[in-house]
Structures are given as structure tokens and as C-alpha cells.
């Protein structure tokens, strides 16, 4: 798949933002006043910034309101509704904490639940794709959820929780790669089933439909950079998981925490780039590119 910067930024930052909103929502002793303001600013900058970034890959972004209508069938529509509900609930909750110093706890719980729902629905947009076997696994939502919860705990400063969740996210990520590497083969979709010609003999793409490229090839048959995938996986886990965990085990200060957060974000961005770049769409079979 084409690793579009807009969707990489969207999944990374909205995951972190909604992860932070989850921890803020369930915090029994939430921050108030200026401290709350800064926390909410960071969470909203990431969550809303990520969502806005996702609109850059739309062909007709001005019609985005229509995307809230098909929640019965579409995960993208459900995601939109979950995101807006979360942002409204947590916005009101934050308002109480920042300006009135009161915790309207029910709104916090609703927001926390909504934050989880948002990350889950985002992950299901990818996990539902039977056409992309690497994504079509239960591990995909597990990976998105564990990264969001770990990143959120890290931003919130829940050190013990962050260490545990980062470790879990790391394990889930590694499993996602190991299982994902076998997914296309295990899906049973081959050039033989794609063309229906397999019972005659071995099928080879002889001539493509056109000499140039097309939308399908640009969007679904991205192969650039795969050769670096092993290195990028190591970089992703090192920056995203190992370095933040080591830093959190040190006596923590604000600067060290900032480095841990920066490292985590860089690592997640690398892993998310791979999530898209390594994903093989079955349509590539028609072009002999799998």
C-alpha cells in the first residue's frame, strides 16, 4: 500500500491523542486549572491534528459531514462518530476541570470509553480489509490499542503503567510482524485464484493493461523501501519501545520524559510507515507484483 504521510500522521497522532484522553478520562484525581489546560491542549492538538491530517487524502474533503451517516455498516463512519463524541465529552469534562476546578466524572468516563472506541474503530478500518491479508487479523486492533494506551500513559506520566503497556505494545508489534509476514500466503489468494487459470498450469503476468502506471498501481502496489523493512522494524521497536522504557526506568525528570515521548513518537511513525508500505493488496496479483 502507498504509505501516504497523511494517514501515517493521522494514525500515529490521533492514537496518541485519544490514548491520552483515555487516561485523563479515567483519572480518579484529574489535574485542574493550568495543568489540566496543558494536558488537554496536548491531547486535542494530537487527536484533532491527526483527524485533520486524515482529511488530506480525501478527494472531496468539503463533503466530510456526509461521512457520519453510515455507522450501520462502515467502520470509517463509526470512527467519525466515536471521535466527535469523545472530543465533545472530553471537551466539556476539560472545561469543568480547567475553569471550574470540578470533575464531572461521568463525562470523563464517557470520554474514556469513546477514546477506546475511536482507536478501535480506526484499527477496524484496516483490519476489515480481506484484500490486505497483513491487516486482516485480530492483531491489528490489538496493535493499535496497545500503542495508543501505552503512548497515552507515557504522555500522561503514569510511569509504571507506561512501562508495562510499552512492553505489551512491543510484544504485540513483533507478533503482528511475524504473523503478518505469513498472512498473504495463508490467505489462499494467488494468481491461480485471481485469474481462475490455475488448473491449466502456472500463471504468469505476460503483458500489463497499459504501458504506464495507474491509480491502482500507485495506491496498492507500493514496493519501494521494502528492502529496508528489517532495519526499520528494529529502529521502530528501539525508538518506540526500548528507549522510552529505559528512560522511564531512570530517575525521571521533565526533560528525560520529553526525550522518551519524542523517541516513542519517532518509533511509532517508523512502525506505521511499515504498516502501510509492507501491506500487500491482492490486486497486485493481476499485475504480477506479488
Amino acid at each position: 500500500m502507498h504509505p501516504a504521510p497523511s494517514v501515517i500522521i493521522f494514525t500515529t497522532f490521533s492514537g496518541l491523542g485519544f490514548g491520552l484522553l483515555f487516561w485523563l478520562g479515567i483519572d480518579p484525581t484529574p489535574p485542574t486549572g493550568w495543568v489540566a489546560f496543558v494536558f488537554w491542549l496536548i491531547a486535542y492538538a494530537m487527536a484533532v491534528g491527526g483527524l485533520l491530517s486524515s482529511t488530506f487524502h480525501l478527494g472531496r474533503p468539503e463533503r466530510f459531514l456526509k461521512a457520519f451517516s453510515q455507522w450501520r455498516s462502515s467502520w470509517l463512519s463509526r470512527e467519525g462518530i466515536a471521535a466527535v463524541t469523545t472530543l465533545v465529552a472530553m471537551g466539556l469534562y476539560g472545561l469543568g476541570l480547567v475553569f471550574f476546578g470540578t470533575a464531572w466524572q461521568h463525562l470523563g468516563w464517557l470520554g474514556a470509553l469513546g477514546a477506546l472506541a475511536t482507536v478501535f474503530t480506526t484499527s477496524m478500518i484496516y483490519a476489515q480489509m480481506k484484500t490486505i491479508p497483513r491487516w486482516n487479523m485480530n492483531l491489528t486492533p490489538a496493535m493499535f490499542m496497545s500503542y495508543a494506551l501505552a503512548g497515552g500513559a507515557l504522555l500522561k506520566g503514569n510511569i509504571t503503567m507506561a512501562i508495562v503497556l510499552l512492553a505489551i505494545a512491543g510484544v504485540v508489534q513483533v507478533f503482528t510482524w511475524v504473523m503478518g509476514d505469513k498472512a498473504f500466503e495463508n490467505s489462499g489468494t494467488t494468481m491461480a485464484t485471481a485469474t481462475g487459470l490455475g488448473n491449466i498450469g502456472s500463471v504468469r503476468a505476460f503483458e500489463p493493461p497499459h504501458t504506464g502506471t495507474n491509480y491502482l498501481m500507485r495506491e496498492f502496489i507500493h514496493v519501494v523501501g521494502r528492502k529496508h523493512s528489517q532495519k526499520l522494524r528494529i529502529i521502530g521497536v528501539a525508538l518506540g519501545i526500548i528507549i522510552p522504557v529505559v528512560l522511564l526506568l531512570l530517575p525521571i525528570g521533565h526533560w528525560i520524559a520529553l526525550i522518551a515521548v519524542a523517541s516513542h513518537i519517532a518509533g511509532v511513525l517508523a512502525s506505521r510507515w511499515l504498516f502501510f508500505a509492507e501491506a500487500e493488496h491482492v490486486v497486485g496479483l493481476y499485475y504480477g507484483k506479488r
Partner: protein, 250 residues
């Protein structure tokens, strides 16, 4: 509404004969020609006369080489037109967040309401066949409409009320009809020739069917007595025999 109808009254679709398709791409051209000036936005081209040209097509013809297994049979070249299969369980429809993609209850045609399309591309992701292309000029998703603006169009001669790709095919490799009616010509053709689904494991239940190439003739033995004749000498004699042995020793 992007939920799929439980049952469609008809299952209009195409039957494509891989045995008779000659790979002339006439269907591609007539499709582009008809659909760029009829239903919805035009099918744009980018940099059409430059070095890196590309454009939106609703129908494309691939060519595959198949090497039969087992004996030393000759390789076969099979031309393979591919467009929307108007699946019964169309994954492109249910992923649509806006309701722009839908499957018609009356005839099973899968269409895009371009006024509602936000161009998110998710339906193209969900389609295993590469049947949908996002038009780069218009920013909306384009796909085969089964020439919905021809098949019911009473301004056209009756003979023209079929999809333009079928109308134009010079080798009779494309057939149009109701695949939900088992007595229709297309259904009989599918039954007779063993029509198949593409990627059945994807669970999309395509309406369009592909007729596999007929088995090739085997080269007949041209003389019934030939097997009883003395085998021709396999070992070279004379100068060539000497050359063979000498080269072997080197």
C-alpha cells in the same frame, strides 16, 4: 444506504469468454469513450501526451501466460478483461462512510452516487479486483456502471441497449444478461462452459462470470504406422560423430 440488499430482483452482469477474447482492447476504448461523456464525471487523463501519462479506466485488459503442467504442452496466452464484477456481497459498498456506494435492489448493479463521494478511497481498498479508480481530476470514485445509461435507454435502438463493451466486442467474447435467471442465455452459457468466479475465497460472490479457455487440441499422430517404424539412429556417425566425441573429451 451502504448496507447491501438481502436479495436483488435481477442479477445483471457480464459473462466474459477467455477462450475467444483476442485482447484487442476495443472494449477498453469503447468503455472510456461512452463513460467519459455520460454517467457522472468524465474519466480524466493526467499528462495524456507526456512521458508519465495515466488516466481513469473502468475496464482494463490484462494478458497472462499459462504454462500447462505435466507434459511438454505449449504455453498459452490468455487475454483477460477486468471490470467491476457487481458482487452480491460487495465489500466496496459496506465500507463506504457516506452512502455514496450502493447496490441496486432492482437489478444488482453497484453504483457510486458521485455527489455523495468524499473520495476517501476505502472502497477501492476493499475491492480485490481493482475495479474502482479514484479520478484524479474530479476526486471521486469511478467504476463500471454496467452502462446503466444504455441498458434502460429507450432513446437508443434496442440492439444498443447493452453495455458498450459488449456491443463493441468484435470476437463475441462478452455477454450481458440476468445471471439470477437460470433460463437466461448467459446463465445457460455459464452452466455449459463451467463459468467461474474470480478469487472465490474472498467471499465477494461476484455476479460476473469468466468462461475458462477450452482445452487445446493435442497434436495427432500423423501416421498410424509411425510407432512401428525403426527408430531413427540417435547416435551421430562419421565426421559429426567424431566431433561429438572429441568435444565431449575436452
Amino acid at each position: 444506504m451502504t448496507t447491501l440488499p438481502n436479495l436483488t430482483q435481477k442479477k445483471l452482469g457480464l459473462v466474459i469468454d477467455l477462450d475467444t477474447c483476442v485482447g484487442c482492447h476495443a472494449c477498453v476504448i469503447s468503455c472510456k469513450g461512452w463513460n467519459t461523456e455520460n454517467y457522472g464525471a468524465p474519466l480524466s487523463d493526467q499528462n495524456a501526451y507526456g512521458a508519465d501519462n495515466s488516466g481513469t479506466f473502468l475496464n482494463r485488459v490484462h494478458s497472462f501466460e499459462v504454462q500447462p503442467t505435466g507434459d511438454e504442452a505449449a504455453a498459452q496466452l490468455i487475454h483477460f478483461p477486468k471490470s467491476c464484477l457487481h458482487c452480491e456481497d460487495a465489500p466496496c459498498v459496506t465500507v463506504c462512510p457516506t452512502g455514496a456506494s450502493y447496490k441496486r435492489e432492482e437489478d444488482g448493479i453497484v453504483l457510486v452516487n458521485e455527489q455523495d463521494c468524499i473520495g476517501c478511497g476505502l472502497c477501492a481498498w476493499a475491492c480485490p479486483y481493482g475495479a474502482r479508480e479514484l479520478d484524479q481530476a474530479e476526486g471521486v470514485m469511478k467504476k463500471c456502471t454496467l452502462c446503466v445509461d444504455r441498458i434502460y435507454n429507450e432513446n437508443l435502438e434496442e440492439v444498443d441497449r447493452i453495455p458498450t463493451c459488449v456491443r463493441t466486442c468484435p470476437s463475441g467474447a462478452r455477454h450481458f444478461g440476468d445471471l439470477g435467471d437460470e433460463n437466461s442465455d448467459v446463465s445457460k452459457l455459464v452452466a455449459e462452459r463451467g463459468g467461474m468466479d474470480l478469487m472465490p475465497e474472498q467471499g465477494t460472490k461476484p455476479v460476473n462470470k469468466y468462461l475458462p479457455p477450452r482445452p487445446k487440441d493435442a497434436l495427432p499422430e500423423f501416421d498410424v504406422l509411425a510407432p512401428f517404424l525403426e527408430p531413427v539412429a540417435q547416435e551421430a556417425k562419421g565426421f559429426l560423430g567424431w566431433l561429438d566425441k572429441t568435444l565431449e573429451k575436452l
